[in-house]
């Protein structure tokens, strides 16, 4: 039961992008097309899950004074794995995501979960939490990138969706679009959340 709760937590209540607003750099930078969003999300989910498992396994071994450098090395190792893997098998995607794959190493989400959660609980709970957080991140940036691709290019996952009469709003795939779409989405999620909280208050 606890494990399901840990998993769901990252999907909505403590969604890293929309609720906690951490790990924003990659969420803004790579979300110009829906494919990039999914790829980036899966890469981060892999690093997050593997490092959480390892940190959780080592939680009684790592002295608390040097824990942060230890976590960073664990995270850096798995980031190198993803980096080399993507470079070898998905060179086109790697080209687009650019430095944001190696930059997973400094993504606040990974270190925050290691420090705040994985270092305190058992492997099962740490895994559930990491998967939830990773998938929460993935759906969030996929949503952002779908909106940006739709408005900016009129396509979705590379397929034309908008009719011929549609004039693309180029700004959406340029940097300002990232900030504005993100701001509006965070605002919307705030609104939905407030509403549900109010509803439960009434009943």
């Amino acid at each position: 039961m606890q494990i399901i709760k840990d998993f769901v937590n990252g999907l909505w209540n403590e969604n890293p992008i929309f609720r906690m607003v951490i790990g924003i750099c990659s969420a803004l930078a790579v979300t110009t097309a829906a494919n990039n969003g999914i790829a980036m999300g899966l890469a981060l989910t892999f690093v997050l899950t593997c490092s959480s498992i390892l940190v959780s396994l080592l939680r009684n071994v790592i002295p608390s004074k040097v824990r942060i450098p230890c976590y960073i090395i664990v995270v850096a190792t798995f980031t190198t794995v993803v980096d080399l893997f993507m470079k070898a098998y998905f060179p086109a995607l790697y080209e687009v995501l650019g430095i944001f794959i190696p930059l997973i190493v400094v993504n606040c989400i990974v270190l925050a979960r290691a420090e705040a959660f994985a270092s305190k609980v058992g492997v099962a709970r740490a895994t559930a939490d990491a998967l939830g957080m990773g998938l929460g991140y993935t759906w969030a940036i996929t949503l952002i990138s779908m909106i940006r691709e739709l408005l900016g290019a009129g396509t979705l996952f590379g397929y034309q969706v908008m009719g011929d009469g549609f004039t693309p709003w180029i700004s959406a795939i340029l940097p300002p679009g990232a900030f504005i779409v993100m701001g509006i989405l965070v605002g919307l999620i705030n609104m939905i959340n407030r509403k549900t909280v109010k509803d439960t208050d009434c009943h």
Partner: protein, 196 residues
Amino acid sequence: MAKELFFIIVGSVFVNNFVLSRFLGQCPFLGVSGKTETAVGMGMATTFVLTMTAVAAYFLQNYVLAPFGLEPFLQIVSFILVIASLVQLVEMVVLKISPALYNAFGIFLPLITTNCIVMGAALLIPMNNYNLIKSIALGLGAGIGFTLALALMSGIREDLEFADVPEALRGPAIVFITAGLLSMIFMGFTGLVPLG
């Protein structure tokens, strides 16, 4: 040479501002931009770390990683370790020189380690094959661009406190939208230097 250096600095401060156009360093950009004084202090600390890191990354890449063929495997690990130690050094210096500033930075000073602007600049150096002087220019330009973005944002946010913002947009949401407008303004610099 001087022209190229000028392009690197102007490029990273205005045209491809590291924060508003390359999206590096968003965490402190959102977190420390509440007050101008803290924002400028944070910007200066980051600029210092960035410049030092650029030098360190250059030497590490060209004299250790590349000659021994360790580049693909150890680049990320060794860069992050160098950055972490540099930040520790800056933290000790700031604590010694100005405890008030140290307290004002709060959690964000140790967080320079996980500020992707530092790691990002370090990774851009081997990617572009910059020499030592160009690396320093990149670090400095990135730092100045970061400080500029933070200072502008904090100025706007100080005024924003008196604005009547819709309830749902309060907090990070309105900061994102403001950043979007700021980023649009910075797009006006496009074409100021040749791309590359």
